[in-house]
Amino acid sequence: MDLINFLVYLAIMMGIYGILSLSLNLQYGFTGLANFGQVGFFCVGAYVSTIIVLVFKMPFILGLIGGMVMAGFYGYVISIPTAKLKEDYWAIVTLAAAEIVRIFFLNEDWVVGGGPYQGGSFGIGGIPQPLRALFSAYTYPLFYLAIVLVCLASTYLIINTLTESPFGKVIKSIREGDNLPQALGKDVKAFRIKVMAIGGCFGGLAGSLWAHYHGFVSPNQFMPLETFIIWAMVIVGGKANNRGAILGAVIVLVFYNSTRFLKDYIPIEEVTLASLRMVVIGILIVVAMLFMKEGLIKEKKTTY
């Protein structure tokens, strides 16, 4: 039973990170926007959904939608100052914005209006899980997995439809250089903002799913480290390929979670193991950029 529980947990995480990876892939892979603050969307989605459900006592579905809308709005707002600028600026602004979001929830404990150990650095616990009462402790994770998979499938379908549509052609041409879309009368700035907002929505969706699965959110869960793990997923899986993004999430999570059992066999401290895991993630990104630029599943190139 333990093994099955663990596999279900792993599958849920793959679903949630798959959504994050698809979202980053839309921004970086297809549009060339170096979003180094993907965790910001994740954090906004998780917190907004938590506040809607916990403080305003609304149903889960409204929390989910609220989280998506606010994360999309956050993506819209942070892309305004950089929409006209080069990628270097996107990287630092998104990275900084995600940190500000985290610092905000770390410092402001009134947003949950809770008791002495709620909010701020204590995090928020007791987040209700949707339809929890209908299932037993063993079957509930399976039900939640179903919710996550439905969300992942919808995300995949929506983003895939988008990238195969004329919209997808425009954003790919934006990635390749700014002159062509401008010559065709496309507003590059507006397209970039749209991509950040749409990608942001799905980042928020993942955040909401995460919060209601764990029943607990805290600013420590949304460190910049998470962003870099998602980057590794997109780069290894194959940028500008939606199936690649999901494959990347699966591979990186299998690696990440399988190393957990390593400490049963080798005497190694948890903090050292966590650091070594991240060393591998970093090296994976470098090696993939050097020798495997296209990732495992290559972008579909159509010629006309």
Partner: protein, 306 residues
């Protein structure tokens, strides 16, 4: 805290930021990518100095110098092993690679030395205390090193052959190469200078506070902000940006914004309104956003790129 004290703290902070942002800006200038591993190299030097100073018992000054030189050489090695293969790639590819490098470096340090805060072994220093301010000998050192770094950079750029070659490579890499300037050799020097100065900056910050594997990330946003603020790719801009940011970070917490909002008491609302200390990291971000909205090329930025 007195006004003079805040000015001194600002200058100390500006000196630290200068040491780091100068290197970031010249690497950008010559290699055309934003190096997200820049501050992580400094962390490597911080821990090398810790190893020399605490584990091997070197006095702090030789330890700091040796660590900075070794890290500068290490940066050349990383360039040869990784970044050299990407010379013709677009800036975004190299930037993402530097991000991977940053994660690998930071966590290697964390795996070796652990995640707890540590201190260098230096004798306790007696600060100079006056009626208006107090300053430690270390803070004087930081200011002196910062000023020397700025002078050194100026002399390097304008009074040496290397500086001339660097400026030529930055203005027009193809022309520079065609004129017989060995671009690859210059890149090697640039890495060494950039990273060894950043290393000194990191060690000084570590001496003033404490050292942590995470400190490279804690400083990356202010360093990028200072660099962009002055105009990325321009060393004088980096110095100016560091100065502006040093003052902004310290005065941001010192000024009572309630006073300003009520127009110096004219509106009759005498409220106290300070930026909470927890938001100190946000100050550089807000300035960064303002700069990008109003003057994306920075204060001293050149017109030619966008």
């Amino acid at each position: 805290m007195t006004f003079t004290q805040v000015v001194i703290n600002s200058i100390v902070r500006a000196s630290e930021l200068t040491l780091l942002s100068l290197g970031l800006t010249i690497v950008y200038d010559i290699l055309r990518f934003a190096n997200f591993a820049h501050t992580e190299f400094a962390v490597v030097a911080v821990y090398l100095a810790f190893f020399l100073n605490v584990s091997l018992g070197f006095p702090i000054i030789p330890a700091a110098l040796i660590a900075s030189v070794i890290t500068g050489l290490f940066a050349i090695f990383i360039d040869r092993a990784v970044f050299k293969r990407l010379r013709t790639s677009s800036g975004i590819i190299v930037m993402v690679t530097s991000l991977g490098m940053a994660i690998a470096l930071r966590n290697t340090v964390r795996a070796i030395w652990g995640a707890t805060a540590r201190n260098y072994s230096v004798p306790l220093q007696k600060p100079f205390v006056t009626e208006f301010f107090r300053i430690t000998p270390l803070q004087i050192w930081i200011i002196v090193v910062g000023v020397f770094a700025m002078l050194g950079f100026h002399l390097l750029l304008h009074h040496t052959t290397l500086g001339k070659a660097m400026r030529a490579s930055s203005d027009n890499p193809e022309l520079a190469q065609a004129s017989g300037i060995p671009t690859e050799k210059i890149i090697t020097y640039v890495w060494f200078v950039a990273i060894s100065f950043a290393s000194l900056g990191g060690i000084l910050i570590g001496l003033e506070t404490y050292i942590l594997p995470y400190m490279g990330f804690a400083i990356i946003i202010p360093v990028f902000c200072a660099t962009i603020l002055g105009g990325i790719g321009n060393p004088y801009g980096a110095m100016l940006g560091a100065l502006v940011l040093g003052f902004a970070e310290n005065f941001g917490l010192y000024i009572n914004f309630g006073n300003i909002l009520s127009l110096g008491g004219m509106l009759g609302i005498s409220k106290e309104l300070f930026i909470p200390t927890g938001y100190k990291p946000a100050i550089s971000f807000v300035i960064l956003i303002l700069v990008l909205l109003l003057r994306p090329r920075g204060i001293l930025g050149r017109k030619k790129e966008g």
